[in-house]
């Protein structure tokens, strides 16, 4: 099985996607991540292990704990991760353009 397929399988799991979403905004310890799920701690650990093995998560030691954070570089390889960001702005600007084309000064 090639690595690329592994990565896609990694993000196909709802819990792992939820984990990626959590750590997008901040690095979190395994305990803090697990606290967000009903699953048993070992189950969450297994998910973290898979995501780390696929390089989607980076581990950062902090004192006695290990913090997990998203590996934006790897996400970029999986899919063009800038595209949703770009289309968010594109949608906004399209709205601006449509709005201002219809704009009538009130004065």
């Amino acid at each position: 099985m090639n690595l690329r397929r592994d990565v896609f399988q990694a993000i196909a799991d709802p819990t792992r996607r939820a984990i990626l979403l959590l750590v997008t905004t901040q690095a979190m310890s395994a305990g803090a991540i697990a606290a967000n799920f009903d699953s048993a701690r070992p189950t969450v650990s297994k998910h973290l292990q898979i995501l780390t093995e696929c390089d989607l998560l980076l581990q950062k030691p902090s004192g006695r704990e290990v913090f997990y954070q998203i590996n934006a570089q790897k996400m970029k390889e999986v899919a063009d991760f800038i595209e949703p960001f770009r289309s968010m702005w594109d949608n906004r600007f399209n709205k601006l353009e449509t709005l201002m084309k219809q704009y009538k000064p009130t004065k």
Binding site: R17, T25, F81, E83, R86, S87, L99, K101, Y103
Partner: protein, 152 residues
């Protein structure tokens, strides 16, 4: 249809460029940034405060599908009508540090204009994380669709 919005984020740099050409005049484009009720309509956020002037404050608020409120705010440092806006931008109650935004408005013709937006972040890491946000949210919301594709 080709998308008119271009994003450029060079490897290893803590900045980001957003460029867009509009089929509206420079004056209309600038007005869309200046008037609170217009900002509200195209940004899709509630505008609590927008003082379009030097050292003016702006405060926006959005409500997510779960009903949680998210605040965005900043201070305007330069406000030159039809030319530029320089401001800080901050996502309240988030781990993201304040970012600096340079907005330049350009006239291309009487009915065309361009916006160049440069955003400077505290670190490369924060820039990448911010750009990954819509991707991660998209993953979560569109998970059923992704599942269908990858289970084949």
């Amino acid at each position: 249809m080709e998308s008119k919005t271009k994003i450029s984020a060079e490897e290893g740099k803590q900045e980001l460029w957003i460029k867009r050409e509009f089929d509206i005049s420079l004056e209309l484009l600038f007005l869309a940034y200046q008037e609170p009720n217009l900002v509200e309509q195209w940004m899709g956020t509630k505008v609590i405060k927008l003082e379009s002037k030097k050292y003016g404050i702006f405060q926006y608020e959005t409500t997510d599908p779960k009903g949680n409120k998210h605040g965005f705010s900043g201070v305007i440092h330069e406000f030159v009508p039809n030319k530029k806006i320089t401001r800080t931008f901050e996502m309240e109650n988030s781990v993201f540090p304040v970012q600096l935004e340079y907005l330049e408005f350009e006239k291309l013709s009487d009915t065309k204009s361009r916006l160049n937006m440069q955003i400077i972040f505290k670190s490369v890491e924060f820039r990448n994380q911010l750009m990954a946000l819509p991707f991660a949210f998209g993953l979560n919301m569109a998970h059923n669709r992704i599942e269908e594709i990858y289970k084949k």
